[in-house]
């Protein structure tokens, strides 16, 4: 593994060689880059990548140079005598079998070491997070604290993490490139007399610094595959714990505030739109699929909406989380995300009937959800 001083230099070299032909592509941010490691797992892969890239570039340059030389030097020339009819050379054959074999061994040894290293649970009290792939969004569960959320995976920076993954439907693949390689997310199957569940897959890593890292599904899973995105929000340990605690405490607007105590007959201080939204939500089919902590909503088919107003995006990393976008999403999700399972206000979806909400009701639901922070 190269030292930390050498790594940026090698990275630079690779970036330069690969990027030169597309100068423009070298500027700007690459939030989903696979060559910008931000975790120990990604570091291991990246140092291997740099090593193998150097080997292969050397071989490429040698082969291409010899080829170019041959093509120029031995082009047809009537002044040269007819070529000598050689049939082979044993020494050469042995040489160019052994040299590549040695290079292959040089690549295989660190590779196999990394294969074992990256598939072992990390030491130091790892946090287990359960990831469940759905068409086309990600469910995130924290078994130790009973917290369930979707598409935005909060993780403590600096603490080892174990992602235990499975799928609710077809095969997906979990990939947040800056935090490491991808791992397929497979449906579980029951085997044996006991009906034991098998098929979990795992990822082990430690995020280095707080930050937001983009990812998306990497195994074709159907029409909405390209829009099945997610992000990891890495925070300091204390921020992370605060986030967990917040989740368990219902947010202020989840249920209606108690009736005003004073007898002046003043209207409650609550935004009437939020109140209407709450009422609409809990009397519509929304709650058949969605759950909100502390409210009479316990559906499990769709994403858990506890504190959804605090999320950065909606629709699995698709749209910025604004009331206007929430309105668009609830009204007609299929126009934003083909293949989505959620029905729209007028359109059926995923085998479910339309919600039959009016625009005003949809706007109210959006306002209510936005208020859940």
């Amino acid at each position: 593994m190269p030292t930390t001083e050498a790594r940026p230099r090698l990275l630079h070299l690779t970036a330069l060689l690969l990027g030169l032909m597309l100068l423009g592509a070298c500027q700007g941010d690459y939030p989903q880059s696979s060559i910008d490691p931000q975790s120990d797992f990604a570091d291991t892969i990246h140092s291997l990548y740099v090593q193998v890239t150097v080997w292969t570039l050397v071989i490429l340059v040698v082969v291409w140079s010899v080829l170019a030389y041959v093509v120029v030097r031995f082009r047809e020339n009537k002044n040269r005598p007819a070529p000598k009819q050689t049939h082979g050379h044993l020494g050469l054959e042995i040489a160019w079998t052994i040299v590549p074999a040695l290079i292959v061994v040089a690549i295989a040894i660190p590779t196999i070491r990394a294969v074992f290293e990256t598939q072992t649970e990390l030491e130091g009290d790892p946090l287990t997070v359960e990831i469940i792939g759905h068409r086309y969004w990600w469910e995130v569960r924290y078994p130790e604290s009973g917290v369930t959320t979707a598409n935005e995976i909060h993780l403590p920076a600096g603490r080892p993490v174990t992602l235990q993954m499975n799928s609710a439907d077809v095969i997906h693949s979990f990939w947040v490139p800056q935090l490491g390689g991808k791992r397929d997310v497979n449906p579980l199957r029951r085997v044996g007399e006991e009906g034991e569940l098998r098929g979990y897959t795992y990822l082990y890593f430690t995020v280095r610094e707080p930050g937001v890292f983009l990812g998306q599904c990497a195994e074709f899973c159907g029409e909405g595959h390209s829009l099945m995105r997610m992000r990891v929000v890495a925070e300091s340990e204390s921020d992370f714990n605060a986030w967990l605690a917040d989740w368990q405490e219902p947010s202020a607007t989840v249920t209606a505030p108690p009736p005003a105590r004073d007898t002046t007959g003043q209207t409650p201080t609550e935004d009437p739109l939020v109140a209407l939204g709450r009422q609409t939500m809990f009397t519509s089919t929304c709650v058949a699929c969605h759950a909100i902590q502390g409210a009479p909503a316990a559906g499990v088919l769709g994403p858990n909406l506890t504190r959804v107003g605090g999320r950065m995006t909606i629709g699995a990393g698709l749209l910025e989380n604004t009331p206007e976008n929430l309105f668009r999403w609830i009204k007609d999700p299929a126009s934003i995300k083909p293949g989505v399972q959620m029905p729209g206000a007028q359109e059926e979806g995923g085998g479910f009937p339309p919600t039959n909400l009016t625009d005003d009701q949809v706007r109210a639901v959006a306002a209510y959800l936005s208020s859940l922070r």
Binding site: Q32, I45, L60, G181, G222, P338
Partner: protein
Amino acid sequence: MYFVTALVFFVIAGVEALVIRMQLWRPENDFISAETYSQMFTMHGTTMIFLVAMPLAVAFFNLIVPLQIGARDVAFPRLNALSYWIFLFGGIFLNSSFLFGAAPNTSWVAYANLTSSQFSPGHNVDFWLLGLSILGVSSIIGGVNFITTIINLRAPGMKLMRMPLFTWMTLVTSFILVTALPVLAVALILLAFDRFFGANFYAPSAGGDPILWQHLFWIFGHPEVYILILPSFGVISDVIPTFSRKPLFGYPIVVYAGILIGFLGWGVWSHHMFTVGLGPIADAFFVASTMIIAIPTGVKIFNWIATMWGGQIRFTTSMLYAIGLLAIFTLGGLSGIMHASAPIDLQQHDTYFVVAHFHYVVAGGVMMGLFSGLYYWFPKITGRFMDERLGKINFWTYFIGFNLTFFPMHISGLLGMPRRTWTYSADLNVALPNMVSTVGAFIFALSALILVYTIIKSAISGEKAGPNPWNASTLEWSIPSPPPHYNFGEIPTVRSREPLWREDERREIEAVTLKVPDVEPVMPNSSYMPILLAFGVALTWGLVMTGRWWAPLIALAYVGVCVFVWAFEDPFARKGA
């Protein structure tokens, strides 16, 4: 016939590729819908592999192998006709899905359990699995035919180690065909049972295992890669010596390397499955086996370069394509070494980096080798040269368009763009490489059009070619161009590996092969039966789609009748007698 049909499918697959590139021209584009996009990339991949690259290679097997070994025809000419017609009906069946708006849409690898009736209720997957089943029958029949031909019909003196490399690689490929395709057939039949008859082979909810599909598919799928590339290796192993005026360097080593690749190709399938989570021991094994394959492949490349070393290289279009293959395939092979390193593959798997890699291998390696063969053998088959001036334009537009299309995909992949995605977020900052790719794709398409034009123009009015226009060394160049329908009036005797480059041997052979025989050898008549039979085979599979167990049996009975009628037909009956 194979050739023309494959060329038509080549144009169709090319149009599909252009539609894909149009959609990816800019982020969040909506040129086509997500569903149409899925159909496009599924059909592009399936068509290019099963309806273009494989049949193009088979076209050369058919046309060239008998000539190279001194045979009048393949061992089973009637089986050969059947194989062609089944292939044609299979291709038509697969593409007819477009008419129903139900083109396959689960990618060319069609991973279970996405393909189950639950998650893919339409007929899209049915068309795919039945179409491939039909095509598989054709490939297996072809493979049997070529193995028999090469083993049994060689001219006197044509020992195995005197066979031209193209024939050798045809032999190896044919063995892979007859062994790998049945594995695909098994996978497809299990899928058919799941879909049509309610079985649960791949259904996890009932204890089935979707990963079983991946194993079966790749046990077929990786040898398939060698089915594609080995014929091209064979082509350039004949082309490079001819245009360097030197025998192939290290002939036995190149042969053994080809055989070794064919064998090892069976032991590497799970390198397509490093992300599945099979555990470190399985991963480590497949890392090692995959890397070993790099060695014989490298050895081949060194031997080709050594063949050119010290030669007198003539830059015909055929030779340019061969050199192009060397340059491009080397890059594609080396990015393959990166994926062989499992942890790196965890990043690159299913991204555009992999798309770049296999297009360097297939569009750069396989197709360039086949086009090299096209320019090389065209004068033999038609008696006319391909237009060299147009050929050079064709090659250079191909070379530039190809690299412009696929090199930037390395970059978009490294920057996090997954494959099989209908659109990509502007946040990823990969718009520029995608635009370059799209521009490249149009240059690439232009090159394909030039090629089609060149073929048609040259076939009609190309310069006339003699029996051995390139001064090549192998047996096919000893007979007139185009060859008489019986190929060899009298079978010559071969005494060396390069018979036409040894003055005494050449004269001996040409005395036999260029002579017009007094009595023409009798060749079998053509027959309509293979068409009727092939239609029946396609129909049998097609009727499986009804989901009624008795429906295909009706077509099967029809197939039985055809077989009997055909079997009792006298192939040598004189017309009007």
